[in-house]
């Protein structure tokens, strides 16, 4: 069963990792995708893969921290695809470090992309979605936004912020049949987690009841569910995809 037939989605950070898996999963379910990424070459590659499975797809270069750029790209996307049914706020970065060593620049860079980026993109799609009187907004949070993590003060704060933002948006836009939810991944195998040391990874594995790391596809399937009509009565929620790590 195709869950997103005839829909159009914007996926930020859609070129690689979890974002790429979301883009591909959506396309397999009949969705056209605007792949937004700061790495436009990678976004073009991903868009080409989506077209190869028969969907309309375009790559857009955008820094989600730049409100003006986000607004302009969203206008272009609405012109090209005629509608926006789904927004996936997936773009995110890390600048890890213990708080005593964390610079103001590290803090600001992470908050700008991970949290303000979500705000910018939500604000940009709210107009078109309110006109359509329908929409699904899914933001990628993280379990560290709920449990904290030594060395990730900036990242965990940004992800906790994403959860608060999601709940406010859910309340504000519910009357227009726009849902807003978050997916909080645990340890997922991507470039972001490849940066950890072997010892750090072994320690993580011990804490995961399902005894394996998640894949980008594990996250993508939860996002698919929230974007689909199957979840139309679910809003303001956080689905944790972590192999049982946070219980």
């Amino acid at each position: 069963m195709k869950l997103l037939e005839g829909k159009t989605a914007i996926v930020t950070g859609g070129a690689l990792g979890i974002g790429r898996a979301i883009s591909l999963t959506f396309a397999e379910h009949g969705c056209d995708v605007a792949v937004c990424d700061i790495d436009v070459e990678a976004a073009k590659k991903t868009a080409a893969e989506l077209r190869a499975i028969g969907r309309k797809a375009e790559a857009y270069a955008v820094d989600v921290a730049d409100a003006q750029a986000v607004a302009e790209v969203t206008d272009k996307i609405v012109d090209t695809f005629s509608r926006v049914d789904i927004l996936v706020n997936n773009a995110g970065i890390t600048r890890d470090g213990l708080i005593v060593r964390m610079t103001e620049a590290d803090w600001e860079a992470v908050l700008a992309v991970n949290l303000k980026g979500c705000f910018n993109c939500i604000k940009a799609v709210t107009g078109p979605m309110m006109r359509q009187r329908a929409g699904a907004i899914i933001s990628i949070a993280s379990i560290v936004g709920m449990m904290g993590n030594a060395g990730q003060a900036n990242y965990s704060a940004s992800k906790a912020g994403v959860i608060g933002l999601t709940k406010s948006v859910a309340k504000e836009l519910a009357s227009r049949h726009i849902t807003a939810n978050a997916v909080a991944p645990g340890f997922i195998k991507t470039r972001m987690t490849d940066a950890l040391t072997e010892a750090q990874r072994d320690k993580m594995l011990e804490q995961i009841p399902l005894k394996r790391f998640g894949s980008p596809e594990d996250v993508a399937r939860a996002v698919l569910f929230l974007a689909s009509p199957l979840a139309h009565y679910i809003t303001g929620q956080v689905i944790v995809v972590d192999g049982g790590m946070m219980m």
């Binding site: 107009g127 309110m130 006109r131 504000e172 836009l173 009357s175 227009r176």
Partner: protein
């Protein structure tokens, strides 16, 4: 198209009311059934249609159709 006609068209489309209900005295929220989100969206639609930026404090003052037409006339002339 005259500004008042354009404003009427936007209101009809957004709020789904009859064009006859849209008098200059009609209040968006009390008479035309707009909620706060509709009011915000109206301001957004006016901004887009007339290619202007409406500051939040101005938008909050526009409670009737007549006030909106008057405001938009002034803003698009300057």
């Amino acid at each position: 198209m005259a500004i008042d006609e354009k404003v009427k068209e936007i209101i009809v489309k957004l709020l789904g009311v009859n064009p006859e209900e849209i008098t200059p005295e009609a209040k968006f929220q009390e008479d035309l059934g707009a909620d706060s989100l509709d009011a915000a969206q109206l301001a957004m639609e006016f901004e887009q249609e007339f290619n202007i930026d409406i500051p939040e404090e101005d938008a909050n003052q526009l409670t009737t159709v007549g006030q909106a037409v008057e405001y938009l006339t002034k803003r698009t002339q300057s």
